[in-house]
């Protein structure tokens, strides 16, 4: 679905992305993490075709982004800016959603149907002005305005930054549902390691413009040397599991950790009474 082949991007002789090669398959959900200035947003913009690589090539759905106009890319790829206000301009939520479809030349009946479906799916009030909504709600309107176009790929730049807990959960559950039920491919820049662990099975770690690691999120969060190099901190339960010597993947959240503790407590209790249960 997304293929980067030895991609570099330089501006004013400073290389922001260097020699990155990776593939993200259809229906995958991958997190893109790394230190400030690592090149995460630049990489996302490259995939969207907002900027073109100065070296290597990027294929999205088999076509090189070099020759594609962003307006064509927008038919299959949705890009969520970190700041939703960069992409909202409609007077009402309904207008915001309808605009993109009108732009793509979708027939009015079909457009109305899709707008209605998306409003329901994302639980949005069509008559509100986007400017009157909270940041989390504006973020979801921005996501809705992308989703109404039925993209096959979502590129999300820190979608939960600045959101409160409820807004964060709503945002991520919506994205997760689009990924799970509709097979939308998601590439998400995030600094929130709890969100990465909860939603993205795969993590790409970037540092100094280079791809340092690419693998299962749970596994990479155990890699001390990688975490240090990419300025990452493991999710809290992963860090605790590691301290307790629990094997990777065995218990990485509060629920499974509690069950693990319960089993161990049971074993220890039996260990304290060697004859317990024996004939």
């Amino acid at each position: 679905m997304i293929r980067l082949e030895n991609v570099s991007y330089a501006i004013e002789s400073r290389e922001l992305v260097s020699g990155v090669s990776l593939r993200v398959g259809a229906g995958e959900f991958a997190a893109l993490a790394g230190e400030n200035g690592a090149g995460k947003t630049t990489l996302l913009k490259l995939v969207m075709g907002l900027i073109k690589p100065t070296g290597g090539d990027i294929l999205v759905g088999g076509a090189s982004t070099r020759g594609l106009r962003v307006s064509v890319m927008a038919r299959t790829v949705g890009y969520l800016f970190q700041n939703p206000d960069r992409q909202l301009f409609g007077a009402t939520v309904r207008q915001e959603l309808a605009f993109g479809l009108d732009f793509l030349g979708v027939a009015k009946d079909e457009a109305d149907r899709r707008v209605g479906e998306t409003l329901d799916l994302l639980k949005l009030d069509p008559d509100r002005a986007p400017t009157s909504l909270s940041r989390g709600e504006r973020q979801r309107v921005a996501l809705a305005s992308l989703f109404v176009r039925r993209p096959r790929i979502l590129l999300l730049d820190e979608p939960t930054t600045g959101l409160d807990y409820r807004e964060c959960v709503q945002m991520m559950e919506t994205v997760s549902r689009l990924n799970r039920e509709d097979g939308v491919t998601v590439l998400m820049v995030t600094h929130d390691m709890e969100v990465a662990l909860d939603f993205a099975p795969r993590m790409l770690a970037l540092s100094g413009g280079k791809l340092l690691a690419d693998g299962p999120t749970r596994g990479l969060m155990r890699d001390e040397a990688l975490l240090k190099r990419a300025s990452l901190v493991p999710a809290q339960m992963v860090a605790l599991a590691r301290r307790l010597g629990i094997a990777p993947g065995e218990a990485d959240d509060a629920l499974s950790l509690a069950a693990w503790v319960e089993r161990r407590a049971g074993v220890n209790a039996k260990g304290g009474m060697p004859d317990a249960g024996r004939p």
Binding site: E35, G136, G162, V233, Q236, A254, A258, V261, A265
Partner: protein, 282 residues
């Protein structure tokens, strides 16, 4: 101890707004306290920060009731400039705070304009840039930086001034995870070494709980919970009903309590969580 910050019955309604952004807020913060502030969007957290900096009611106008004093200054009669010598603020939207175009100039600007002795300035700039690990960005144009790097510059500029109180309003949102931890560590150090009062408005509940000693939960313009971090975490259901999550270690403690494997207070950091688990297994 006398309060550094004292709010008595403070209410504020923005011009043209229907409801109050702050509603009868009573708050006393002593010098050297590290206070975390959390709550859902629209709870009044930023308005509280603006009240301490004088932006409310001097810049963001509206109806102000009650009394707010910071280091003895009445925020309604003192000017924003006077207040800014005591309270350093960093807000989420750093772009709107920059007054220069270069990283070094941004840190210098405040020092040169706040009567800092000339011979002290170079060392202060060096220290602030080093503290935020951005010495290598010194000669960069601010517009060429990433969002997280810009936040570090804004934090460095505020730290360099060594104010009596620092207010961070979601100022670490774009920082990478290691930098967020580092900034909280720096704040702790400032509090320890200089007695700086720290007020951090954040959604990162795990960091707040690990570093702050007091937690304020705001909702609909009011401070609805105000107490030591651990005591606040003892009411996870109430927090959740206010749209505030608990750290995962606290959730784990609740699960172990349900299984009657743990009976102690909720842990607030990894060290305590590890001790809790080892005790539960013993």
């Amino acid at each position: 101890m006398d309060s550094l910050i004292l709010l008595e019955g403070v209410s504020f309604r923005y011009e043209g707004a229907g409801s109050r952004a702050l509603d009868d807020v009573r708050l006393s913060i002593a010098p050297g306290e590290f206070v975390g502030v959390i709550g859902p969007a629209g709870a009044g957290k930023t308005t509280l920060a603006h009240t301490l900096s004088g932006v409310v009611p001097h810049v963001r106008r509206g109806d102000f009731y009650g009394s707010a004093r910071v280091a003895g200054l009445d925020t309604v009669t003192a000017s924003v400039v006077e207040l800014s010598k005591t309270v350093g603020c960093v807000f989420q939207d750093v772009e709107s705070q920059f007054v220069t175009t270069m990283v070094e100039d941004e840190v210098l600007f405040a020092l040169e304009n706040f009567d800092v002795p000339r011979d002290e300035i170079p060392a202060r700039v060096d220290r602030a840039l080093a503290d935020l690990n951005i010495t290598d960005l010194r000669s960069r144009g601010i517009s060429t930086l990433s969002g997280g790097q810009k936040q570090k510059v804004a934090l460095a500029a505020a730290l360099a001034l060594a104010p009596s109180a620092l207010v961070l309003d979601e100022a670490t949102g774009e920082l990478d995870p290691a930098s967020s931890v580092q900034v909280f560590g720096l704040l702790s150090q400032l509090r320890r070494e200089r007695g700086t009062t720290i007020i951090v408005i954040e959604q990162k509940i795990m960091l707040l709980c690990a570093y702050a000693d007091r937690l304020l939960v705001m909702d609909q313009g009011r401070v609805v919970i105000d107490g030591p971090v651990r005591r606040t975490l003892e009411q996870p259901d109430r927090l959740l009903s206010l749209g505030v999550n608990c750290p995962r270690v606290t959730t784990l403690a609740a699960r172990l309590r349900e299984k009657e494997l743990y009976h102690g207070p909720p842990p607030i950091n990894l060290d305590e969580a590890e001790t809790m688990v080892r005790e539960a297994m013993a």
